[in-house]
Symmetry: C2
Subunit: 109 residues, 2 copies
DNA sequence: TGATTATATGGCAATATACTCACATATTAC
DNA sequence: GTAATATGTGAGTATATTGCCATATAATCA
């Protein structure tokens, strides 16, 4: 792969990671894992203003991880690539590893 | 899981995703996938100043995705949780999906 | 000891991001 | 047509991130 292509790929990967990298957006992804939801319900569940949620949703749509469809007055968002959820299991690995290290540190005191 | 725990988990997950969410940091992770490297080599490979790379590395260490050891003058960084790399294959899925959509759009014109 | 090398960090300016409020748009029902 | 509802967006402020430079720290070697 050329350096320029690599650079583009890194930009793209970073954009996707950044689109996940906010507590509210993680909460939204977690909420959408069981099925599509309208903005109103997402806002209610995440506990934030609709306008704010709307912006966070558009960030994730732009990054390519969410899709949406309109149904009457409502706009229904859904996870486009559920493999995003695998990332969360890796996060669990990271956290477990940190717990293990803390325990090791504690034992050596 | 309690709401408070959920909130903490979301924060933690977001922190880790954010730690990946920068082109230089993606480049660093990609460089480290084949083994540990010193700051000097990482900086050279990523094409940025050492001071800048040093900061990016500390972001990832804080998030728990990198570890390091000192060896003489050098500090050697390594991927702590290679499952982070699985995230990149999901990114590939996201990108492929977008290509597919663009093609569909093109055909309909 | 002093010189050299590798890395980390404080300070600063530029830029990007997040949140809130008000308003615009779009769809439905009457 | 108007009213009501759901969503999106512009503007402004607050805060965070980034990159660069100068400098601090730490390890090695003469």
């Amino acid at each position: 792969m050329s350096d320029e292509n690599k650079h583009l790929r890194y930009e793209r990967q970073a954009e996707i990671a950044k689109a996940i990298g906010h507590p509210l957006r993680v909460a939204i992804i977690d909420f959408l894992k069981d099925g599509e939801q309208c903005v109103c319900d997402i806002a209610q569940h995440a506990g934030s203003e609709r306008s704010n949620i709307s912006r966070h949703l558009s960030v994730m749509v732009r990054a390519g991880i969410l899709g949406y469809r309109k149904e009457g007055l409502k706009v229904i968002y859904k996870l486009k690539t559920p493999c995003i959820l695998d990332f969360f299991s890796c996060v669990a690995v990271v956290i477990k590893q940190q717990v293990k290290e803390s325990e090791k540190l504690l034992k050596s005191m």
